[in-house]
């Protein structure tokens, strides 16, 4: 059916077609994401003994550690949406394990990530209710600068926006996860630094974490929602062509499919997007150069 034909369809028929396509992709076990989670963590953890024993140069390990931090969020994101296994499923433990361990390099506790991310889905681009609203910026450089500024001690966005969201939904207790994770991170960092491994700690964790956070905010939050002034199911997220391509942007070119059907595994969103393209066009979605 051509795009022109699809545009003639009723709302109900468009929704039926959209759901039918989504159904074909939901429920498939995301083996790539699960392997990715554990392999990425194993590589990052292995850098520590390799570097601290002098087996591997810290300058070789540094870019690898940066990649590890950049890569660590998305497997947890699959877990946040119960894509690996839903509550009550036989592999539910694996879903939760991936959620908890994959973001260790990022120092982002699973429950904090999950609850605030679900709020982001419920209230995308709402200035008062979207915990990620602070990532909005006028352009790419402004987005990067904004991300750096959101990590300054006196900021109102970043972790404070997450704390406000958890307070609002009645789960301020979950913020304790972030407090203890942050404390553990700094205790480890300080202990390494005062034991003579400050440069190693800086290049394996502290600086990669900052670089990784900047990348994640840019491609996983700012770019798919830019300019971030529209709300509504078909308008709050866009399809776009990333300078770094689909792999370099970690699949975020097709993030619009994720917002429409969050339980489609990341690896299947490009295929779902192309199958859904005519419906998305008919719905007036923002699809730019894709």
């Amino acid at each position: 059916m051509s795009t022109a034909d699809v545009k003639q369809l009723s709302d109900a028929e468009l929704m039926r077609q959209e759901r039918e396509i989504a159904r074909r992709h939901i429920g498939k076990f995301p083996i790539v994401s699960v392997t990715w989670a554990f392999a990425n963590l194993a590589v990052w953890l292995s850098l520590w003994p390799l570097v601290l024993t002098g087996t591997l140069s810290v300058w070789i390990a540094f870019p690898i550690a940066c990649l590890n931090v950049m890569l660590c969020y998305l497997p947890s994101h699959e877990a946040q949406h119960d894509i690996i296994a839903r509550p009550g499923d036989r592999l539910r433990w694996l879903n939760e394990l991936v959620g908890h361990v994959s973001t260790i390099p990022l120092v982002l506790p699973y429950r904090v990530a999950r609850l605030t991310h679900l709020e982001h889905h419920k209230h995308t681009n709402d200035p008062d209710l979207d915990p990620d609203y602070g990532t909005h910026a006028s352009g790419p450089l402004a987005a990067i600068w904004n991300s750096i500024q959101s990590r300054q001690p006196g900021t109102e966005s970043g972790p404070n926006a997450y704390a406000a969201a958890l307070q609002r939904i009645g789960r301020p207790d979950v913020m304790l996860d972030a407090v203890f994770a942050t404390l553990a991170f700094y205790v480890i960092l300080f202990a390494l630094a005062w034991s003579g491994f400050a440069i190693e700690a800086a290049l394996l964790w502290w600086l990669p974490r900052h670089i990784g956070q900047t990348y994640i905010v840019y491609y996983l939050s700012w770019a798919p929602h830019h300019p971030g002034n529209l709300t509504g199911r078909y308008r709050n997220t866009r399809g776009f062509r990333a300078v770094l391509g689909n792999i370099g942007s970690m699949g975020m070119q097709y993030h619009i499919v994720h917002h429409l059907h969050p339980r489609i595994p990341l690896i299947r969103t490009p295929k779902a997007f192309h199958e859904m393209r005519a419906v998305l066009d008919a719905r007036g979605c923002r699809i730019e150069n894709l």
Binding site: Q152, P153, G154, I199
Partner: protein
């Protein structure tokens, strides 16, 4: 416990400056083999940088 944690986070920039920036600076100076003026040791230089930068960050609420 809560008071201790809140105090730690309140003085976060200074804690980070002395906990991390000071030894990091000292070890960078040592590995680079830099000669310091006035007979400063790398650790004293690190502590000085930490105190100044951390103090400014504590006051302004931002590192950069």
């Amino acid at each position: 416990m809560e008071t201790v944690i809140k105090t730690l986070f309140h003085f976060g920039p200074l804690v980070f400056a002395f906990g991390f920036i000071a030894p990091l600076t000292a070890q960078i100076i040592e590995r680079a083999g830099l000669a310091l003026p006035f007979g400063l040791t790398p650790l004293v230089a690190g502590l000085l940088l930490g105190a100044v930068w951390g103090g400014i960050a504590q006051y302004r609420g931002r590192w950069i």
